[in-house]
Amino acid sequence: MDELFYREYILEHYRSPHNYGHLENPDISVEDDNPLCGDRIRVDLKVEDGRIADVRFEGKGCAISQASASMLTDVVKGMTLHDTLRLGKDEIMENLGADTLAAARIKCATLGLKVLKAAALRALERAAETEGQRP
């Protein structure tokens, strides 16, 4: 791993994460951790018309997991739930400005995405249920 990987903006996101905190009455709230290193992230979503109207995250862990989650929240605000499900490792690495990362650290980098996708999936499920309940 290149030392340059820890670019200034990554440390900025780590120390001053965007969209940090929680939403009042979120539609969805999902939390997960990476048992290998103890990193933990919670994501709150407000959903409107199949889009992420608002997002907050909270977490603790290494600079990579926290900065990556912070950058991700910027990216997904306003995105459709379906589009967030299409996000992958590549987009995360691009956000971080990294070519490669040790496998153990990739799990750090993608923890936020994992939680976000779980949240989006749950939102879609819930929408399908509501749909089914219509008369």
Partner: protein, 418 residues
Amino acid sequence: MIAGTPHYATDDKAERVRADFPILATRTSKGKPLVYLDSAATSQKPRTVIDAISHYYEDYNANIHRGVYEIAERATDAYEGARKRAAAFFNAASTEEIIFTRNATESINLVCYTWGFEQLHSGDGILLTRLEHHSNIVPWQLLAAKTGAELRFLELDEQGRVILDDLEEKLQGTKLVAITQVSNTLGTIVPLERIVPAAHAAGATVLVDGAQAAPHMRVDVRTLDVDFYAVSGHKMLAPTGIGILYGKRALLETMPPFLAGGDMIRRVAYDHATYNELPWKFEAGTSNIAGAIGLGAALEYLEGLDMTWVREHEVALTAYALERLDQVPHLHLYGPKRADERGGVAAFTMGDAHPHDLASILDAEGVCIRAGHHCTMPLHELLGLTATARASFYVYSTFADVDALIEALEKAARIFKL
């Protein structure tokens, strides 16, 4: 670094030792020399151990104990020869007290499943320290959950040393004391010489997790007077997949077998079986023959180095590391302050740079340290941490390795603008 200090006396030898370890001459994919500071996780292997394995497979590979032909005899002699060497290395009363296992974890589980499940009953105390590795906690949790025995803990002082003031009290009703000799996280050396006699006086049996002690200091199981002693070969220059359980013969004899199958039996009929003598009663199926032979070679190599030097060098190196780490801004070091009260591990945090980030930045410099909970999650929680960075040393570690560590940490501090 002051030239001519006593440090350098042991360091000269360590420099020579390095030549015996092929991996230490390699470079990382970035072309950096390998600075291996993760020996508490697993040690590197000297040429003689690697060759002992190849030699077995190339020259006399055969199954043991039952073969009449020449290479089977040679394999049996080498395997049992390794056991003899281990008995001598740890000063066991006889080879019957040396059982080959996969690792310290299996050694502890063996005692848990056989002695433990037979001897421990509802309300019996199992006394641990707050330092224990998961391998010396979780088996006893499972046992406690099934039998109703209860776990107790010796507490730590602010330097991570075990508090003994309430030892007698906690020994009341304690049937088993299961403690580490050296902490793999804080480095704390546990005063067995005080705990073991008190435990015996209180009627308790003592199991010692020697995973971090056996590689680093002379261990004499009879002087220590421990009842069981668990060892991992891979942490003491030996191959992966081989460990030792030492047990006092009188105890081992009363224990039922653990795994059942070939080699651990004397006679088998379809409806019942009788068991083999010690130590084979506890070695079911085809053993890790190459592993045991490699362990024999590792112990021979360590004898050649002299365990007194091994410990001396570790103390000198640790003292130097503590001194230098202490000068790194924002670095917080855990564990005893005196090098002679600890093993060769240094766990630390540095400002708000997460241990995983530190390890990644150090990796780019070729410096290998561990980051995480080091299989002591409860201890980390007790310290209010989820993770630490840990550097650990062994016979091939040098003052130059410590310098490389410090330099890499200073770079990390610059990156993190600490």
